[in-house]
Symmetry: C2
Subunit: 500 residues, 2 copies
Amino acid sequence: MKDTIRLDADDNVVTATRALEAGTSIEDVATTGLIPSGHKIATRAIGKGEQIRKYAQMIGVASTDIAAGDHVHTQNCDFVPTAQDYEFGTDMRPVTPATGDAFMGYRRENGSVGTRNYIAIVTSVNCSATAARRISDHFTPERLKDFPNVDGVCAFVHGTGCGMAGDGDGFEALQRVMWGYAKHPNHAGVLMVGLGCEMNQIDWLLDAYGLKQDESFQVMNIQGVAGLQKTIDLGIKKVEAMLPIANQATRSECPVSELKVALQCGGSDAWSGVTANPALGYACDLLAAQGGTGVLAETPEIYGAEHLLTRRAVSSEVGQKLIGMIEWWKDYTERNRGSMDNNPSPGNKKGGLTTILEKSLGAAAKGGTSPLTGVYKYAEPVTAKGFTFMDSPGYDPASVTGQIAGGCQVVVFTTGRGSAFGSKPSPTIKVSTNTEMYTRMTDDMDVNAGDMLTAGVSLEEKGREIYDLILRVASGEVSKSEAQGLGDFEFVPWQIGAVM
Amino acid sequence: MKDTIRLDADDNVVTATRALEAGTSIEDVATTGLIPSGHKIATRAIGKGEQIRKYAQMIGVASTDIAAGDHVHTQNCDFVPTAQDYEFGTDMRPVTPATGDAFMGYRRENGSVGTRNYIAIVTSVNCSATAARRISDHFTPERLKDFPNVDGVCAFVHGTGCGMAGDGDGFEALQRVMWGYAKHPNHAGVLMVGLGCEMNQIDWLLDAYGLKQDESFQVMNIQGVAGLQKTIDLGIKKVEAMLPIANQATRSECPVSELKVALQCGGSDAWSGVTANPALGYACDLLAAQGGTGVLAETPEIYGAEHLLTRRAVSSEVGQKLIGMIEWWKDYTERNRGSMDNNPSPGNKKGGLTTILEKSLGAAAKGGTSPLTGVYKYAEPVTAKGFTFMDSPGYDPASVTGQIAGGCQVVVFTTGRGSAFGSKPSPTIKVSTNTEMYTRMTDDMDVNAGDMLTAGVSLEEKGREIYDLILRVASGEVSKSEAQGLGDFEFVPWQIGAVM
Ligand SMILES: [Ca+2]
Ligand SMILES: [Ca+2]
Ligand SMILES: [Ca+2]
Ligand SMILES: [Ca+2]
Ligand SMILES: [Ca+2]
């Protein structure tokens, strides 16, 4: 393993692959101080105001004169947003179509395909959280033993649903989440539970989306049923009636074009953009070639790199949608007295990421190189095939909740610092960006992309490994986070407006 | 029971105590249409633009000409905010001090007094939610049987903690919540669990508040411990070490001046402001007379009635704090494209509450008539004795989370539509505003204030009943929601800023 990585010949910084003492020889220079692993070193003098370049792109501007060999980080590198001349479709790399790859999925009556077979208890408001949990807790493995094709009964509870405006972005996002979970192909049956007087009315949802109750889709309110215990008892009965029907589902061979995969990262480090994210991007390209779908999200995390995505947009309409979201986000963060530059998190910074732009270039790498075929609102059903984008915050549970609501049946999550994330009803595959963390958190990590640094594994090999695992997990292989039962407490609808 | 209630001789509306057919004789007039129970009837003609008066206060303005006998509701009554000339201390009704009332509490080393004896797992971020739940789930009644003085091990998990600004209102509120739960007198031991790379760093909290780890206060991060399962295993060991110490706590007689009681309402109806809220206000006055503390909250729900509270403020400084909060809220809701007039909820409206002002007058009645001795930020430690106010949203779980973080050891929650709310570590007493709902949801309701209408029970009797129950519950009597085990999923820190 070399001491540093150079990502492009024109870059004026390189990245340390391990902690380097002061005076270590790097290319033509010597380090002027201790460089933590994953952090950047200037390979030539950079004057105040000059661009700092990595990935052959500007990641920031020198806030003071930087000497060759200096540690480059927040103390001498600032993020400066620049005016963008957006281009649409100027960097199209058409996918070479491929066919024949398949997975074993649950084909539903409406034609959609599930990768799991759950019964879901979906709540409209925090006030029905305990009721929903009690109903799902009733269905122990012992009580489910006669229903071997049912993966479980899970409760989706959250902290919002009332004390909010009854229209606007936040309300609509929450209703889309509820609808997305209600009709998710990984759900064989759905029971919605509300309190009755909440702002997020279940009845409004049924009206707005034309949902009708049937044997596998039921709704109820605590106030209507007359209390917590009666609601729990009735809910258990309703789920019991769904179990035999759900148990009739079986897996059959389905083309990869039926797969929607959530592309996600969390607890990123300096290796995210070098190992795991490009490898996931390669897997996304393989998926797109088969007519499958990859769903990139986390708008604040691609902020500053959106001009690279619009060049891949299949139409200016698709590209403009993305730009519109970036504008919305600038306004949203300003209105809330934040800033799009408020990221990276303390953990990111510790890991060596200096600016949101540096992080964004690395985050966007999860999306591979295929054309951008569709851009979606948070939790909106994803209908385009190929590489797509969904608006969401970067915050992992909120972002994945939107991706799953949009129809994703598998989640792939890259992490450098080490996340213990998992999700239901769609399982999460976790990819470590570095070998050290993979070794330390081996119970939690499915794939080590750190071996791209430590063992010379190629991007193509690692991307293929992730792609193959996606197909196996889609077919029922249990991921690490799934084996640990994660996903019961990670349902977090994005809360946008004021809590009142 | 009379067909209607008149709250003041000068009011131009009365409230129907049951559904009334068109043509029913009301005072001097006949109803012009069906009047649902709890809804208002004009007792004289009210011209467009004239004030609608209830509680001897303006609750709105006629948006069209209203005939005597007409149903008065959203179709003909608008909320119009008016400029307020605030007065401070002009309506002081000094409390006649009383002493001698006591309860059996857990006196802690630092002098604070608990009403319960829990061990708490407090999370910094959603990413440690499953770890915290698994630790608390390990401590089944069977595993706790040797520790009879310990009420349980509870996990406080939530949907926020990262993807947020690392300063400002939202961040500070979350850190106050964590601090408040860490030092709550109902906790004999506290284990804080984080992921490691989140914005809401546990280390920052320890630094900011000078918290030191000891045998009963421990912190850990999943990334530091190296994975989910190792974190769970270590957490179980840490709690096991706390149990024998926690079990040594015993109850002793403590004066009521040690009690802080959260005053809360949710799922209000037209009776809230007539029965349960004034009765709770009377109980609050009894508490204040003994040197105890009542904590009113829910700033949006007293909006429009704040001028009545400032007249009771012990100083203009205390009153100005409240006005400052109202101004903050106007800005907060405007920035988020909402409005302070966005309340009441659909359930409130169905129950007959037309405007936020009408609801506010009824909500403020929970605070009784004693002087306002202190005004606090959300989740800030409440130190004044007597009647106090804490800034919070109206949304029940977020508001109660702030009140408990501020030190409340008991919660009293009035509800008209019927709520199944419960809380930990401080138990919730629920008071029904009407006999019909009390009878229907008897498993969930501790007190029926509806009998003030249906059985002529006086305000003083009902207030005394609530006060006595507060003391018994503080001493260990189990409330209805507590018996049902509620409170594990109702911890909802107020999320203020943008989710990024
Ligand atoms: Ca991320
Ligand atoms: Ca993130
Ligand atoms: Ca993320
Ligand atoms: Ca309320
Ligand atoms: Ca409330």
